[in-house]
């Protein structure tokens, strides 16, 4: 690997200490079996219950618009900047563009992340762009691009959907013309269990098939919705899921996305009221 001269590099071959811990911790399969048996998630939520959301706008004073979102331990900050001319584009484009960058902070995950964007982060950026593009009135700023940057400070599951919801809020905060409020929810599937808004452990449970005789289904689904127009702006899934389960998950996610809308709305109204008070 080429040496990065622009950063301070540590010694080669460092290993996380968690690899050497005694394995008296429950394996993921055991944890899943326990959840199945007791019918209770580790944080005693119902399976279809979303975590409590904390959102705040205006977290970054230098940005045009910004939002910070917390789903318990998952913490994501998003900022949006003024439109600027699309760089390196010789021809004029009638539509504006969105540029999205999704990044994990180096300390945000169980395993240390590198500074350079990896494939997962690039994929997440593309999904974010995809989700936001259909809610922004791109024809309002031809030949310009709006930059949206999301940084995950701590990842405890569902960080992509948290970033999308926060980005929608940040775009509105920045005054970018939009068609609708966007909300997004993640779901983990393992056999017949649906985890709405999974934590990182629950996500790991859903990442691989758990040994079982039959019926091995698992996967992660992310759905983003535009509320008033009842449109799915983005849908992403991976794993191994049957079509019926998938349809079921769509309807559950649809419902949960709807539940988040009033929270986002409340914060937007708050922001508008505050601005009006300041101007009068």
């Amino acid at each position: 690997m080429p040496v990065d001269h622009k950063r301070i590099n540590g010694p080669e071959d460092t290993v996380p200490y968690s690899l050497y811990t005694k394995t008296n911790k429950q394996s993921l399969t055991e944890q899943y079996e326990e959840i199945r048996k007791t019918g209770q998630r580790t944080d005693s939520r119902a399976f279809s219950e979303h975590r409590k959301i904390f959102v705040r706008t205006g977290a970054v004073s230098q940005a045009k618009g910004s939002a910070y979102i917390e789903l318990d331990n998952t913490k994501v900050i998003v900022s949006v900047f003024d439109p600027r001319e699309i760089p390196n584009r010789p021809d004029y484009s009638l539509k504006g563009e969105l540029y999205c960058e999704f990044k994990f902070a180096p300390f945000s995950c169980h395993k240390r992340r590198l500074h350079v964007q990896d494939a997962e982060e690039k994929q997440h950026s593309a999904i974010m762009k995809r989700a936001l593009e259909s809610t922004v009135c791109l024809h309002e700023f031809p030949n310009f691009q709006v930059d949206v940057y999301a940084t995950v400070l701590e990842n405890d599951g569902s960080c992509l959907s948290a970033a999308i919801t926060a980005a929608g809020l940040a775009l509105a905060h920045a005054g970018v013309p939009m068609y609708d409020i966007i909300t997004s929810v993640t779901m983990g599937i393992q056999r017949d269990t649906f985890f709405v808004d999974p934590t990182v452990t629950e996500q790991n449970i859903c990442l691989y098939p758990r040994p079982s005789e039959s019926d091995t289904e698992h996967g992660i689904v992310v759905l983003s919705k535009l509320h008033t127009h009842d449109q799915v702006s983005q849908f992403y899934q991976f794993g191994n899921v049957s079509l019926d389960k998938l349809n079921e998950s769509i309807s559950i996610l649809d419902e949960t996305c709807r539940e988040l809308v009033p929270i986002v709305q409340k914060y937007l109204v708050k922001h508008v009221v505050k601005n009006l008070q300041r101007n009068t």
Partner: protein, 271 residues
């Protein structure tokens, strides 16, 4: 009305304010912005802190990993600091490799850590020549509004105070390592560096703890880092010249900040 004047003639706008002995944000020349510190809020890191100096926000997260010491320093561990100025924190930065400013600040922080000896690298060695801790100290700036180094150093102290490393046992015969998560120990902090940034406006007026606006309008910015009332390092990258007496005065003034910050850290850790 004043907004328009400010955008059109920012220097004039500032000059008029400063001639009255006050800064546009209502501060006097030598007042600090309020500092906020929050520690241990990121659970995935081994130690973490968020520091806010006015609007400037820096998150510091420390991740500890195991590695083999270097042959020329067999009884030393590693501290690897990196400061990131992501495009998120200001419109000045673009995605891609670290900007020049990020590289300069990273080097400055690395120097502060080594010069102040706040961490003794020998404390991080577990078994001589075989196993040592490597602390990855990553700073992410979330809001870039001047005096980033000051915020970074405060967050560094907060994060270092919360770091707890698990007990590690190493069997030289089998070359096997075992980590006990139940027994965690904090690391020892040997000193407390405190940094203060100043800006020089039109070669005369010295502004303490400048905002981004002030930093860009001023003709020079310099940072003084003290370690328990001793001078640790001074960073003055060019800019307008400064009389030695002025510098001494600034050093004396920045001494005032040390008790403030140590009491801030103490109260944050207590609560």
């Amino acid at each position: 009305m004043s907004d328009g004047y400010k955008t059109l003639h920012p220097v004039k706008y500032y000059r008029e304010f400063l001639s009255q002995g006050i800064r546009p944000d209502g501060r006097e020349f030598n007042t600090f912005r309020p500092i906020l510190l929050n520690v241990g809020s990121i659970n995935t890191a081994d130690g973490s802190a968020i520091a806010k100096v006015g609007n400037t926000t820096v998150v510091c997260g420390i991740k500890a990993e195991l590695c083999k010491p270097k042959p020329d320093a067999p009884d030393c561990g590693f501290v690897v600091p990196n400061l990131e100025l992501p495009p998120l924190c200001s419109a000045k930065f673009r995605p891609g490799p670290p900007s020049d400013q990020a590289q300069v600040l990273t080097q400055l922080i690395a120097e502060i850590i080594t010069n102040s000896n706040c961490i003794d690298l020998r404390d991080l060695c577990i078994v001589r020549d075989k196993l040592a801790w490597c602390l990855f100290v990553d700073f992410v700036c979330l809001d870039f509004d001047g005096a980033v180094v000051d915020a970074a150093v405060v967050s560094l102290l907060g994060a270092l105070k919360t770091v707890k490393l698990p007990l590690v046992e190493y069997d030289p015969a089998l070359e096997s390592t075992q980590v006990f998560l139940e027994e965690k120990k904090p690391i020892k902090l040997h000193s407390m560096p405190v940094s203060t940034t100043f800006a020089v406006f039109e070669d005369k007026i010295i502004l303490k703890d400048p905002t981004l606006e002030e930093e860009t309008l001023c003709s020079g910015v310099f940072t003084i880092v003290l370690k328990d009332d001793e001078l640790c390092c001074v960073h003055k990258p060019g800019g307008s010249p400064l009389a030695p007496e002025e510098l001494v005065k600034c050093i004396d003034e920045s001494k005032l900040r040390t008790p403030l910050i140590s009491s801030l850290i103490a109260t944050t850790l207590k609560s």
